[in-house]
Symmetry: C2
């Protein structure tokens, strides 16, 4: 199993994207971890180091996929 990280901030766009991604991703090959960055603020730096600049974002196979736009990471930090 490979890891996939879904970073979000609880916004409506985030919830919608989370539903879509967790539905379509191949769960036989990917473990999806959902990380709420407003609740786990100590993981904002981790998201940033993986190339996340806005939420919601899926990090998988070494790439950050920003899915629609909920909030910038700077806004999440504020």
């Amino acid at each position: 199993m490979k890891n996939a990280m879904f970073y979000h901030a609880g916004c409506p766009v985030c919830v919608s994207a989370e539903e879509s991604i967790t539905t379509v991703i191949d769960r036989d090959r990917y473990d999806v971890e959902i990380v709420h960055l407003r609740e786990a603020r100590d993981r904002i730096a981790e998201a940033e180091s993986r190339g996340v600049i806005s939420v919601p974002a899926l990090v998988v196979e070494g790439r950050a996929l920003h899915i629609n736009f909920g909030a910038s990471l700077d806004d999440v930090k504020a």
Copy 2:
């Protein structure tokens, strides 16, 4: 099988997103059709009607997921 449509315009961001999406999506449940909108200009209206406003975008389960940003649909039309 359900259909998923991946709309793109051949840009580097599109190619990268296509690689990621076609890798992680559950191919046992989704048929992914790749549509190059600069080559299939007659399908731009179809993409637009499904909520696509920029490429690359994945339309699945009735939702348009814009993945990173390559170009606006207006630019693709131009």
